[in-house]
Subunit: 456 residues, 2 copies
């Protein structure tokens, strides 16, 4: 039977690539209101393709902005239900002048398909539709129950996701989620992802006087707001680059030996990395390797700092206000709201003499996400990948934030398995985004294999 | 004889005020090129008044921009030569809408003459011309040799002063300078000024990576430029608010008991001061009073700091660059160039791991100025003031920078005595600048008395 879907995929390769190109020609840029109708067109387009792939139920779940394309194919009560997650919206393409071929005219060069969204996420998510189509054409139906959830706001921070998931709990219920938005470690190295970090974001505002002051008349006596905020900010980390906010690590899970071993198994090229970012030295929390820091240890980053005179030349001013922005990347079981409280408590406790400080919390807080190393659907994904590549599968994590993974987990009680073929060098969110056609093939094959492997 | 000039001044009070109004109607704004001809008109106007006051020699010393109005009246080889310093240019008047009467239509209200330049420095400098006129009219000549040096670039930082003084050393030679640009401690409290601070200015630029980076991918390992500069900047001062740059205080003269006593004799209202600047607490170098810090102790001020994201909301960036600006206020015998070298050495020595730092020096460095407490011309000024007010004279200093005082001292070897009637609440450089007419009277009288007292 496996041979049949394989043959089908081989026979329809050109057609599927042509369809993907058609999909990529729709400039469904969610960040730009001028493209609202394109976003809607992309939703309609992929909904029709889901119908054509055999899904008996396809609907639009409307939101405040862009609809969720939802599909459901119930095949057997005794089988698990997987919900495939992806998105049909794309990033803006600017700067346009850096594209070698136009972003919405898909072009193949050297085995790569170049277009905005080629990898993130139209290429990856559309491969899943084609896998179901192949199973439908050759076996009549998928081997397990499948739901599809393609959103249209991923590139603008998924503002509708919380309400939509809460309002449609029953409709969306499933045993686990498979994310078609994600990536592999590298071109020929399969990997699975155990976790992504949460986020807490705030701004610290400090004030010392009513106005900027003449430094000659007042600088010797009136507290300088920039110097006060520098002093406060210098207390955020200790000498070993640990975050020095009281309680910051209280809920952080200790790394297990398995975690350390998984992470150590992923090769790390420090010199190559330093060169890629233009850094002369790396710096981070003592006692952890670079990948441990990036993947499983929480951080506090000052994203920006400003105060006083920033123009050309000299202005002899003693600034009365200064500001900084913080984002923290969180790991289980840190809570974003609590972290902002701890930062506020720290700022009040360490507020320099003669200054007043306020901490402004931002929306967009996100909890960290993680899936158990022993989750059956994850183990199955690893088996499939090992079989496809004939290689050990790396167990990696994501230093970035995937709020939707934690939302699904919290509201639906369903864990997310990342099973997708984005690559670090695909230029996502950048000019000349591309997708290796071999990855499109692997992803179609991978989903056919994976859905079979998940069947009881 | 004293009675005669006094009677003359009384008889010509109205005329002198009318002349001052005429002077104030010329919008001699040096900062605005549109007013170049007005600046020139003001120079011509005051040159003619110097001739009318009896000066046998009056000339324009041309510069790259605005001329020096120079006059000389040699009366007696056995008498000292004083050079009166002032300026005929004024600040721009904006914001215009805040003026209660137009800035170049002098208006008297409640004993004050309102106009741009009324105090700074047309009112004060013109009073000296009227004093000489009175001495000429009643005694035939001033009691000592007098030179006059009125510049036209004071409000734009006196860029021509260095070359002009160096190129005209002989012409400008004198025993001491009397500055008609300066002020008294308060309305009914005479004071003299012993020193003004110098200035060193630079910018510190720090870099850690080639570009801003995604904080989720890189924040845990790549040094954050803002955090690195925060750490460096937090090393500029120690816990007692002393500047912690190695060598910063090496050349600083210790305060004498006389210095401490002079400064302690000037009343200081800490609560009133805090209220005036909107500060809840004062902060400054431990071991010194507020006036000691402001007047005789050097400072290092961060005037501005910027790096990373400063817009609305959240941007999860690890900044690769950060910058700050410094001005130091210097006291004798600190050297601006050396101070910038020390700052650079400190920044290199304390440069955080993974960062590179450069220190950019700015033009506009100025040496500190001071005059000896025992300078005969200063002592004479104090005697005159004590006699006029029947009060002890405060011995004060200036926390700001008066580069011209140090320039005259260094190039000509002549010290400057500030003898002028500006008041802190005259609104200099602000809307509704004014000058108390009683101070115009006092200044005319003061110069007649002072020139007599200086005669051997």
């Amino acid at each position: 039977m496996a041979n049949e879907w394989r043959t089908y995929l081989r026979d329809h390769y050109e057609t599927h690539v042509d369809e993907l190109k058609e999909y990529l020609r729709i400039p469904s840029i969610s960040a730009l209101p001028d493209h609202d109708s394109d976003v809607r067109s992309a939703a309609d387009w992929v909904a029709n393709k889901l119908r054509a792939a055999g899904f008996p139920h396809v609907e639009m779940i409307e939101t405040e902005r862009n609809p969720i394309v939802f599909a459901h194919w119930h095949v057997d009560d005794s089988q698990p239900t997987a919900m495939i997650y992806g998105h049909y919206d794309v990033q803006p393409p600017d700067p346009l002048e850096l594209w070698e071929s136009p972003p919405f005219e898909p072009t193949v060069r050297d085995g790569r398909l170049y277009a905005r969204g080629a990898s993130d996420d139209k290429g990856n998510s559309y491969a899943t539709v084609k896998a179901i189509e192949a199973l439908h054409a050759t076996e009549g139906k998928p081997p397990i129950n499948v739901k599809v959830f393609f959103e249209g706001e991923e590139e603008i921070g998924s503002p509708s996701m919380g309400p939509v998931i809460r309002d449609n709990k029953d409709k969306l219920s499933c045993d686990f989620i498979i994310s078609a938005d994600g990536g592999m470690h590298s071109a020929d190295q399969p990997s699975v992802t155990l976790s992504s970090k949460g986020m807490a974001a705030c701004q610290v505002n400090l004030k010392t006087a009513a106005t900027d002051l003449h430094s000659g008349l007042h600088g010797a006596n009136v507290p300088n707001a920039v110097q006060s905020l520098v002093k406060l900010a210098s207390s955020f980390h200790d000498e070993s680059h640990r975050v020095a906010i009281d309680g910051f690590y209280d809920r952080v899970r200790e790394l297990s030996d398995q975690d350390r071993a998984d992470i150590a198994a992923v090769p790390y090229d420090e010199d190559g990395y330093k060169q890629s970012v233009g850094a002369s030295e790396l710096k981070g929390e003592a006692g952890y390797t670079p990948n441990e820091r990036a993947w499983v240890r929480p951080t506090l980053d000052i994203n920006g700092f400003w105060g006083g005179f920033q123009g050309e030349g000299v202005k002899t001013v003693t600034p009365n206000e200064a500001h900084l922005k913080i984002t923290c990347r969180l790991v289980p079981d840190q809570e974003p709201e609590e972290i902002v409280e701890l930062i506020n408590a720290h700022c009040q406790k360490h507020c320099p003499v003669g200054a007043s400080v306020s901490v402004e919390r931002f929306p967009g807080q996100a909890r960290p996400f993680s899936i158990s190393r022993d989750h059956p659907a994850l183990k199955t994904a690893m088996d499939v990948l090992e079989d496809m590549y004939d290689k050990d599968v790396f167990v990696t994590r994501v230093g970035g934030t995937v709020p939707v993974a934690e939302l699904f987990q919290r509201v639906l009680g369903s864990d997310m398995v990342f099973f997708s073929w984005g690559l670090p060098d695909n230029g996502m969110h950048a000019p000349n985004e591309s997708y290796r056609l071999v990855d499109f093939e692997r992803m179609r094959e991978g989903y056919c294999r994976y859905l079979h492997a998940l069947a009881r």
